[in-house]
Amino acid sequence: MQDHSNNSELKPIGQRSSSWKAPFSNIFVIKENRFLMKNMVGSTVRGRYRNSMLGYLWSVLEPLLLSLVYYFLFNMLAGNPDRLYGVWVLIGVIIWSTFGRTVTGTISSLSSNKGIINLIYFPRVIFPVSLMFSNIILSLMSCIVIFPILFAYGVEPTVYLLYIPLAVFASGFLGIGIGMIFAPLNCIQKDVEHLFRFIVRAGFFFSPVMWTYEMALARGTFSGALLSLNPMVTPITLARHGFAGHSTTLPIFSLVYCFSFAVIMWIFGSMVFNRYERQAVKYL
């Protein structure tokens, strides 16, 4: 569509690059359609808290209230854990919800944009990608709440605070890759969407949202080893270390594992998405 080449040669319509090139061609597509993405992201961000008095304040209130609940719950069950426990939960909730919303949103990105898909063609990878960016922006807005908390606890802001946006990006990127694998399938049957809503909810407890990496390590080597298989451990823990203001104590393995997991998911997700998206759209 953005092709302004003025040749009048007959070309097959809707030809795509081969699946192998998809992970790279998708990045190119995103770059080409920046203006469209900007408008779609703007629409989603503005739409999330529409018709509410508090508006964007909800992006801060939502994780704050949720962590308050967990804070009291945990205090009742396990006694007073850590001075900063409340903050750890808050960071965990923000990072996890970036991931969760991106996974579920990406999975339903084709079926929920049915109207547009049936009327015009543009590379459909734009739907999940713009959704991911909207989630990242909303999460970064939630992160603003961290600054007053820094003051309240008397923690010196350091350059390691940059870990937090990095973690938000990483969790969004992890989410989109996983979601894109299942998005075409969700056009055929909505069960995928419902199943993943459950998986995200369950994953909340299996990831260090209510607990921390350090707590799990204290339980012995077994839980430590089990923990290293969950790619979401790294972004959440990284953000917490960023708040605490020290370089991360995560083993190199965890960082490499998380990074390669996300990249492999993106490659695999792009390949599946680009290959099946056009056939799947018929089911909409």
């Binding site: 009048s8 015009i120 063609y121 049957q189 056009r278 759209v281």
Partner: protein
């Protein structure tokens, strides 16, 4: 002059009958495909500068054919060759969101239709003028009436200058005044665009503007030719 701009070679399209993952798997195993065919062996060549009308009963595959030409759905068999920039005019105001202002919606819709940012800022005053919304453009869309939304949709969509224009039943929206304005605008677009394919039920308009008319029946092309002839055939077909 008379070069081909759209070429459909043996296009066939099947729609899946069952919406079940299980039956999909069963089909794979049994190698039996439970599908219904929406289009069968469509062959059509459209030359540059032609205005083609497509008519037929509901569900005969007219809109599906346009969607194949626009690249929205891939055919199961055959190929569709196209030369030039294509634009499908259907369902005006797709992707409009109620919580955004008219201007934001126009920007979004414009970018969906493939405008660049610079093009969009350039045509924005024209869009506001044509839609007649004036200061309402800064109000959220939920305050708009249905007619105002349609006007905004058409104003954005009609600002395109495609080489090939596909129109799917978008004529006649809004109040009588605007209806005339919109019909005129679409006719202007039809005249400006190199090649036009129109799906419509308004035979009067079609026989006036079209060079050829395609009559479709149950997913196949029944006949192609002179507008008056083909429209006559359509009424004979109906008597069956």
């Amino acid at each position: 002059m008379s070069e081909t701009v759209i070429k459909l070679n043996n296009i066939s399209l099947d729609y899946p009958k069952h919406k079940h993952i299980l039956s999909l798997l069963l089909n794979k195993i049994k190698e039996k495909h439970q599908t219904f065919s929406a289009l069968r062996d469509i062959n059509l060549e459209i030359k540059k500068g032609e205005i083609i009308g497509i008519i037929g009963n509901n569900g005969c595959g007219k809109s599906t054919l346009l969607r194949i030409i626009a690249g929205i759905i891939p055919p199961n068999e055959g190929e569709c060759l196209v030369a030039g920039k294509i634009s499908l005019l259907a369902g005006l105001g797709t992707g409009f969101s109620n919580h955004q202002t008219g201007r934001e919606n126009a920007m979004l819709y414009g970018s969906i239709l493939g405008y660049s940012e610079s093009q969009m800022t350039k045509i924005m005053p024209l869009i506001i003028e044509f839609s007649g919304l004036q200061e309402f453009i800064e109000e959220p869309l939920r305050t708009y009436s249905a007619g105002m939304k349609a006007r905004l949709g058409l104003a954005v969509a009609s600002a395109i200058e495609p080489e090939i224009l596909l129109i799917d039943e978008v004529l006649g929206v809004g109040d009588p005044n605007f209806k005339e304005k919109s019909t005129n605008r679409i006719m202007e677009m039809v005249n400006d665009a190199g090649t036009v394919v129109i799906v419509s039920h308004s035979f009067g308009m079609l026989s006036n503007v079209c060079d050829r008319i395609v009559l479709m029946e149950k997913g196949k092309i029944y006949s192609v030719g002179d507008p008056k002839e083909v429209i006559k055939q359509y009424y004979q077909l109906d008597k069956w």
